[in-house]
């Protein structure tokens, strides 16, 4: 069974979507059950892969490799494989996808279409992280982003905030256009690398990422042109300032489960792409441009935090905090050291879990209080202690409290910044923690403390809280025992750092 494990993991949600197509529209229970089952399979497989991964094999070698030649003429193959960089992302996707289907149980409107589209998105995300072929990468990338247009336009919510109104179809279109543009730039960069690869004599052109990394011999000048193309493409996806404007609108308009997927894993496709594809294909170009990337990272970090400080809408606040946290990922990458890259990867994982948790709670709160505006809430801790404590846990993790996963990630990146002789960036980044603490604690204070509301409000039921408890467990386990993830990443990030310094 082993050789096809990744394919099964990727295609299981798609198969689920296909089967749901044949269920009657009214049969909501079975639709939900099927969706849960298919993502649960992927989840289990991702855990299995995580456990079975050989941590001692080291360097850039792929494990669980599957390869089928697809279109020979232009060198496209179906290649799936795992190394230390995509494995954490796959595990993250496994967790988030399962949790997001659980959260979606409250969906009532056009249930069948909702689950089909969501499962297609999840298949796309799994595919992006598993595939080692650039052609299929592009295909999965679009599979993960296009259905978002429909998911947001149909099941999303409008925002009315005083004079400014953000309609959901506007947000959906904006998100789609931005992501498509990002995808287009990536495609352009990939084509450039494909044609200029300068492969050794007798080797046919190929879209295989691994072959490109190992055999391609791109001229330095070309790499310097290609890297920004691919980087900007992925930076759009990762919500980096100044390409971030789709992110707050899109994330806030999306239905809860999709906000979780967007912030939890879709943003990570950007960060992952930068690490794996942009650096992998053009390491010398990356070496040239990474100082500029560090500037973008620090701007994202500070600007995102300042914007988050200014939001009254809870979902907008979380979305801007994502912009800010993704800045840390860029900073980690820009240190060009194994420690920084590991930190970036760790941050992606931990941020994925934390924002998913925060968005899940925001969605639940909206269901109960019918408002997303923080000043309108107030004093909820008295009425719903469980939800409040979960949110506070998530918030503390986000601001980097020791003992939680966020702390480990930020510590790694900050240490890497100082050791990489970037003290200015280090100081700015560390300073931003104050801002983070400020907006998180202020949000907690505004929403949960103060005068309790008069109307009767119910605390979360166990069914509603279960998905969030899973996420909290992950956060704490990783915070206490980060070695679990570090072991997996170390050899691969060391290899990547080596690539950067050739």
């Amino acid at each position: 069974m082993e050789p096809v494990i990744l394919t099964i993991m990727t295609l299981s949600p798609l198969l689920g979507a296909f089967l749901i197509l044949f269920l009657p529209r009214e049969d909501e229970w079975n639709i939900k059950l099927l969706a849960t089952f298919s993502t649960f399979c992927s989840f289990l497989l991702s855990v299995y892969v995580f456990v079975a991964f050989d941590r001692n094999l080291g360097s850039g070698s792929l494990q669980f490799l599957e390869k089928i030649t697809w279109i020979k003429g232009i060198g496209i193959s179906w290649i799936m494989g795992i190394d230390g960089i995509n494995l954490p992302m796959i595990l993250l996707t496994g967790i988030i996808s399962f949790v997001c289907i659980l959260v979606s149980f409250s969906i009532k409107e056009r249930c069948r279409e909702y689950f089909i589209l969501t499962l297609v998105v999840l298949c796309g995300v799994f595919g992006v992280f598993c595939t080692q072929d650039l052609f299929f990468f592009v295909i999965f990338y679009e599979m993960a982003s296009i259905p978002m247009y429909f998911l947001i336009s149909i099941w999303g919510s409008n925002k009315k905030d005083g004079a400014r109104e953000v309609r959901k179809d506007y947000s959906a279109l904006k998100l789609t256009i931005y992501l498509q543009l990002g995808g287009g730039l990536v495609l352009l960069g990939i084509l450039g690398a494909y044609f200029l690869a300068g492969l050794p004599q007798g080797m046919a052109r190929t879209f295989s990422l691994n072959d490109m990394i190992n055999y391609a011999n791109l001229a330095r000048g070309v790499q310097i042109i290609l890297f920004p193309l691919i980087f900007i493409g992925f930076a759009i996806e990762a919500g980096t300032v100044p390409f971030h404007t789709w992110l707050p609108d899109g994330h806030s308009a999306a239905p809860t489960a999709l906000s979780m997927v967007l912030a939890g894993v879709l943003l990570k496709m950007g960060g992952y792409g930068i690490m794996k594809i942009a650096i992998g294909l053009a390491p010398q170009g990356a070496h040239f441009w990474l100082p500029a990337v560090a500037v973008l990272g620090v701007i994202s970090l500070l600007y995102g935090a300042l914007c988050a400080l200014n939001q009254t809408d809870i979902k907008y606040m979380i979305a801007y905090s994502s912009v800010s946290h993704m800045g840390i990922v860029l900073l980690g990458i820009s240190t060009q050291s194994a420690m920084g890259l590991s930190g970036a990867l760790f941050q992606m994982f931990s941020h994925g879990v934390i924002t998913a948790l925060l968005f899940a709670i925001a969605g639940l709160l909206y269901e109960k209080t019918k408002t997303r505006s923080m000043p309108d809430m107030g004093g909820l801790a008295a009425k719903m202690p469980f939800i409040a404590s979960l949110f506070i846990l998530g918030g503390l993790a986000a601001l980097g409290l020791p003992g939680m996963s966020g702390f480990v990630a930020e510590l790694l990146v900050f240490m890497a910044l100082f050791t990489a002789n970037m003290p200015l960036f280090g100081v700015l980044a560390t300073g931003s923690l104050v801002l983070t603490a400020l907006y998180i604690l202020r949000a907690v204070q505004r929403m949960f403390f103060g005068e309790p509301p008069d109307r009767p409000l119910q605390d979360g039921q166990s069914m509603e809280l279960a998905p969030m408890i899973i996420l909290v467990l992950v956060i704490i386990v990783l915070g206490v025992y980060p070695k679990l993830l570090m072991d997996v990443m170390n050899s691969s990030t060391a290899y990547l750092a080596e690539l950067l310094h050739i």
Binding site: G73, F135, S153, L185, F195
Partner: protein, 498 residues
Amino acid sequence: MNLVSLSMEIFLFIWAVIVLAIDLVGVKRKKTLATLSLVGIAIDALLGILLLTGKTAFLQKPGGEFYAGFVYISDPMSLYFKELFCLIAFIVLLISSDFLKYRSLPQGEFYPLMLFITVGMMMMASAGDFLLLFISMELISIPLYVLAALDRGNKASAEAGFKYFVTGAFSSAILLYGISILYGCSGSLVFIKTSAQDMLTILTGSTQGNLNAFSPTFSGALMLGLVFVIAGVCFKLAAAPFHMWSPDVYEGAPLPVTAFISVGPKAAAVAVLMRLFIDGLGDISSGWAPVFAIIAMLSIIVGNLAALRQNNIKRLLAYSGISQMGYLLLGLVGITGDTHLARVSVLFYIAVYSLMNLAAFSVAILCSMYYDSENIQDYRGLSKKSPGLAAIMLIAVLSLAGIPPLAGFIGKFYLFASAYSAFNHRLVIFVLVAIVFSVISLFYYLRILKYMYFTDDETVGPIVIPGSFKVALSITALAILFLGLTPPFHQLVELIAR
């Protein structure tokens, strides 16, 4: 003379005459004519498959066969195009009979004319000299002028026919003028690649005498002639700046005819592009490729920008078609880089383009019969009333927009790759512009979907899909879904492009 390889054309021509005769004799049910034409096309397609598979050795050999007087090429590529024309004609016939009845348009003329046009397109794919090229182009055009004006009672249709006729005749004249200049330059009307000696044997049956082979060298006069020829061909492709006729003609002509105009003549013109420019003039591609690069850019920009503001589905698809041809020409420009990839990309995309456009038009025809309107605003709530129909429009439109994993994306992927290989990696900006505009195109493609999926309308009930439409819709939808992702079609195109 070997008539076997001409059998497709001969058969279909005779069949068309028979259909015409049957109509003259008089049949009560016009449906019989439709069925007869469909059967004819199907038999013809089978004949083509026999030709293609029957001679495996034939597939290895480039070139083809020649007939006295005319150079008539019968090679795998021409067979590929002929099969495509059969498919296009088959689908158009499937989706037109109900519409013609609904609008009570003359059916007796429609079917034979469609078959004659198909014969013309087949001849065009096989044309190896300018004379044959011109004759077959007229064989396509003249019946099309008639078809565009089929709805005689309707002013818009008459206008469309007249407009098409005037501009079409003008473009034919320009093409002819270009041909005359090219003849002056090369001294030969034959444009396919073959040695002078071979051709002499073929044309006169003897090895004695002199004949100029078609091997033009680059010169100012040649360039002038080429520009006229390019203009003539681009008119058929509706590529900017020769596109002005297309939105008006599309809008005025009856919908099935529009569907046909949007794919048939374009596919035939692409066959000419392959034959004349890649095979015939491939050696001097650096001379003509920049012209096409500019036309491609203009088409992409003009088509996409103009489509943004259209509310009529026909006009929208007209402008979208203009931009699609721009992408296709961008692939053709790749000839100066990776020749093989350029051939593959163009051959692949024209088939995919035809199928996705036909899928979109099939849905549009059904909707126009039920809603009596061609505005996309009237597609409101279609996803709830007829989810299947909406789903097919969804994949057709997403494929046109180039969204993976649909066939349209794979096609564009080939085209961009081909263009990229040609631009010597410095003019990446062309590909960048193309990609940016394909993102812009999402605005109008998604607008169609927005009305279908995000708005409600209770006034009209669900659409009952007739059997013929079911066949057409399933063929096109399956093709869009699987053509790109499954290897066999790629292998076929690879083989044919060799």
